[in-house]
């Protein structure tokens, strides 16, 4: 059956490009797992934790929105941003979460600043969650 080839791509760079045994990713309709021989598959990705098994160890990443494509034992994940959990600074993540919360305050309008702050908050919460789980 061979192994899976995982590729995680953001607009800035290719974050991961290697062979893996399995991938678990946060899809729009819930978390999904991919093993070699998976059917051709296409789904959206929501902010959350993405895990994969390299055979020598497990890796975890924080990803934001995007989508995933599985075809011919190749998993392509296209997201706006992706960070390895080991590279996230837990303290900084927590601070930025607080900052985003404050900035958002009790505003609930639809203007761009609010949307931006909300997006930042979601990202921060997701980062913190992923990090805390790892510790």
């Amino acid at each position: 059956m061979g192994r899976l080839f995982l590729e995680i791509v953001t607009p800035e760079k290719i974050v991961v490009s290697q062979e893996v045994d399995s991938v678990v990713a946060p899809g729009t309709d819930g978390e999904f797992g991919v093993l070699p021989g998976h059917i051709h598959f296409l789904t959206g990705i929501v902010p959350g934790e993405l895990r994969y098994n390299t055979g020598t160890g497990k890796e975890s990443m924080a990803v934001t929105t995007g989508f995933a494509e599985v075809s011919n034992n190749k998993v392509s994940i296209l997201v706006d941003a992706a960070e390895k959990t080991s590279e996230i600074d837990a303290e900084r993540a927590r601070q930025s979460m607080e900052r985003a919360r404050e900035r958002l305050g009790d505003r609930r309008s639809e203007d761009i600043d609010t949307l931006r702050a909300e997006a930042a908050l979601i990202r921060a919460i997701m980062r913190v969650r992923v990090v805390e789980k790892a510790i």
């Binding site: 590729e7 791509v9 953001t10 607009p11 800035e12 760079k13 290719i14 899809g27 729009t28 309709d29 999904f32 059917i39 051709h40 598959f41 296409l42 789904t43 959206g44 995007g66 989508f67 494509e69 075809s71 392509s76 296209l78 706006d80 941003a81 761009i112 949307l115 931006r116 997006a119």
Partner: protein, 292 residues
């Protein structure tokens, strides 16, 4: 006739200018390398994205989402226009502003209103002087853009498109073809014309298992498609700017060398003339003494 001292001073000035243009050339070269790197890094994302979107969109009824439907009556169009923040890059800004002006005139001749979203200081200054209808302008943001900024921009366009404030969104940016050639390019952003895929991959699309449905997924991907195009424009425009500046500064440096060479000739001639005149004086003086 300029005095010797004047010529010398001029030579010095030109040499100093040359130092500056040379430095600017090197700075542009360094910046070009980093932005080119960013462009290269973006390619896999853009390529994959177009592939997936093409797969999804093929054979799907365009009626599923308003972003795919052409409006029957177009009365107001939006133009997203890219220029550089700085000058001294040859005809880069002039070319793209001309292209935009021509396009706007074409639209106005068809009885459509044009509003502008401008990126880059040069374009903003120009169109503000013209009294054009500017929706928004972003200056000094090259090199600081990230995808969330672009997403925001896209969201703005989509909201305004859906609320019938604007009926079409186009953009003009300078595409980077190679080091010597950059070209203003017009791209229609909304309504979206999905990338066409080749017929041979037709069956592959059917095999996909989509979650949620293919339609829903497509609708989610459409705004991203716009963002990807805008991001691409940003990168291309930036690379083009640096490339244009590099060659402009290279030319300037060369011209400086030419001028210095010519001025040196003039200087030498003037010096020789001065020496000759002095000799004539001395000889004339000596002769006058011997005669007397």
């Amino acid at each position: 006739m300029a005095t010797l001292r004047d010529i010398l001073r001029k030579i010095g000035a030109v040499k100093k200018t040359q130092q500056i243009t040379k430095a600017m050339n090197m700075v542009a070269a360094a910046k070009l390398r980093t932005t080119q790197g960013r462009m290269e890094n973006f390619k896999p994302y853009a390529g994959k994205f177009a592939e997936v979107l093409g797969n999804l969109a093929s054979g799907m009824d365009p009626g599923i989402h308003p972003l795919l439907v052409k409006k029957e009556e177009v009365s107001c169009v939006e133009l997203l226009h890219f220029t550089a923040d700085r000058g001294l890059c040859g005809s880069f800004n002039v070319n793209t502003v001309n292209a935009a002006q021509k396009w706007i005139k074409g639209q106005q001749d068809n009885g459509r209103d044009c509003s502008l979203t401008l990126v880059g200081k040069k374009g903003r200054d120009f169109f503000r002087k013209q009294g054009a209808n500017i929706t928004e302008s972003h200056i000094r943001i090259y090199g600081m853009i990230d995808i969330s900024f672009i997403n925001q921009m896209t969201r703005g366009f989509i909201t305004r498109y859906l609320s019938d404030e604007i009926d079409e969104v186009n953009m003009i940016y300078t595409r980077f073809i190679n080091m010597a050639k950059q070209e203003p390019t017009l791209v229609k952003l909304i309504p979206i014309e999905p990338p066409q895929k080749e017929a041979e991959t037709e069956e592959k699309a059917a095999e996909y298992l989509c979650e949620p449905s293919a339609e829903k997924l497509l609708i989610e991907l459409l705004p991203k498609h716009i963002s990807v195009q805008i991001y691409n424009a940003f990168l291309q425009n930036e690379v083009s700017e640096h490339a244009a500046r590099m060659s402009a500064m290279d030319n300037a440096t060369k011209n400086c060398s030419d001028i210095v060479e010519n001025l040196t000739l003039v200087y030498n001639k003037a010096r020789q003339a001065a020496i000759t005149a002095e000799l004539m004086d001395i000889v004339g003086g000596a002769e006058a003494i011997t005669k007397a």
